[in-house]
Symmetry: C2
Subunit: 302 residues, 2 copies
């Protein structure tokens, strides 16, 4: 298996100045898994849904190549999130969260998922991420995403899992909050000190792209300019999923050029994700359109 | 003459979470002029001060190579600005402004300043910028900076001067405000449409560096990571002054590589400006330290 993704799966209700939708298939494992599976990667999902999870959505995920053996269907309702974006749409405002079956989720990783090339712990409570790390022996590397909620409510647990992985993906607000510094660069240096000595920190900066602390030194990858922002939900998850897949078929420590190419691809994928409400922008992506945006992005630095 | 700078000169009182100072030599022409004169460029300043302008400050500017023939000393007091920065320190809060002699300033450009290589209209009321443009026939190019105050209070005048110059420098907040778009890239495309067809728009993005719309296509130059932010006052002015000087000794239309090198140098200079309260960080800069930071910056994109 190339990538195993542990994360949330659920239904979102989203309002942005550019669009809105309800009962949208969402969750960190949905976006990360769909992005990772793009291009034919073998991806397994570990997560939980309730009895109300729609057959159509299950069929969609499977049609996109996701292995759902690790997706448990529990008594109760699927996780639901209500969010809105205002102004420059940099940050979601959570209006309501119903954890439902996610509230008591204890990941059980299927036997077939135990040795993937890459394990991606997508955004979830750090204790659930720790339980996944306990059960998976990733062949190449482990990755982890998180969010401000866990920095505020489960910081000790988060600090523990941060020390257990090879690549950490956070956004700039999370890095400033966790590092307690005013600038992203200063905060990233502090957060880097919370990780393993040979770990990589990837800081997502919205339309500004990514700031990466790799053992070879820092690196900046610009964002794709002006792709028509409609809904940023899932950008960070599809970004992380893309990196996981891009690194899954390599071997040994992740090199600087390999990482740069992966982050560029992830910035391109995020630019498709944000172009519609829900997963449709991500689903509409194809390699030709991606190549065009990747060339645009590379020209920015030339 | 390499560069003529038209702008404000005055005294600032600044409070930031990292430092504070009063009676600090400041103003857009001060920062832009000092940055432009660095490295031996021949720079003239057009501006106005009052009778309280200190001889020591005049001597400092002259010692740094600024020609002050165009600096009028009027009856009355020098312009004063009180500002503070909070949080991520991206934007100044103006606590008080005393225009004093700047309130009735009508620029009179000395004969010796009439044909510089580059005219830089640093931040000032658009009507004053227009009066300077009327009097100067720049040999290579004209540049213009502005601020949110003029977008809000003198938009028609600003739109007029924007159409008269070759290079416009604005920060991302100003570009979003003027372009009335949520993302910097989208707003920059709108603002670009307000300029001459062959003009270049340089969007300053604080620690994220610069996003540039050049006739050859867009370009991103990252900021210098983690130089120790103390006071961002004057960063934009020293950024613009550096670009003016870097382009002053070339000829013909500004090429993409020439512009990239100028913007990289400007990002490096801004990283020195923000390292202290007032002009001291800028004054302490030397070529060896600049080279080291420029290499760091270039490595970010490799």
């Amino acid at each position: 298996m190339d990538v195993v993704v542990v994360g949330s799966m659920g239904y979102d209700a989203i309002t942005t100045p550019m669009g809105a939708g309800e009962d949208l298939l969402g969750g960190s494992a949905t976006y990360a898994g769909l992005a990772a599976a793009f291009g034919g990667h073998d991806v397994g999902v570990v997560g939980v849904v309730g009895r109300d999870f729609k057959d159509d959505d299950r069929a969609l995920l499977e049609a996109r190549g996701l292995n759902l053996e690790g997706l448990v269907c529990s008594e109760g309702s699927t996780f639901r999130w209500w969010g809105s974006y205002e102004g420059a749409m940099n940050e979601a405002t959570t209006l309501r969260t119903d954890l439902n079956v996610l509230g008591t989720f204890e990941p059980r990783v299927p036997e077939a998922y135990r040795n993937p090339s890459v394990l991606l712990c997508a955004n979830l409570h750090p204790a659930v991420q720790a339980a996944a790390l306990d059960q998976v022996d990733a062949q190449r590397l482990t990755m982890l995403d998180s969010m401000n909620l866990w920095i505020e409510t489960a910081k000790d647990g988060l600090l523990d899992v941060l020390k257990r992985v090879d690549v950490v993906v956070l956004n700039d607000g999370e890095v400033r909050s966790l590092g307690e510094q005013r600038t992203t660069a200063a905060a990233a240096a502090v957060v880097r000190g919370m990780l393993r000595p040979d770990a990589t920190l990837i800081v997502k900066r919205g339309e500004h792209g990514a700031y990466v602390l790799h053992p070879s030194g820092p690196m900046v990858v610009p964002g794709v300019p002006s792709p028509g922002l409609v809904d940023p939900t899932g950008c960070g998850d599809s970004f992380a999923g893309t990196i996981a897949a891009a690194l899954a078929r390599g071997a040994g420590p992740v090199g600087r050029e390999e990482l740069r190419a992966a982050v560029e691809r992830a910035c391109v994928v995020a630019s498709f994700t944000l172009s519609t409400v829900g997963v449709n922008g991500l689903l509409a992506m194809d390699e030709a359109a991606m190549d065009a945006r990747r060339l645009d992005l590379q020209r920015l630095s030339q």
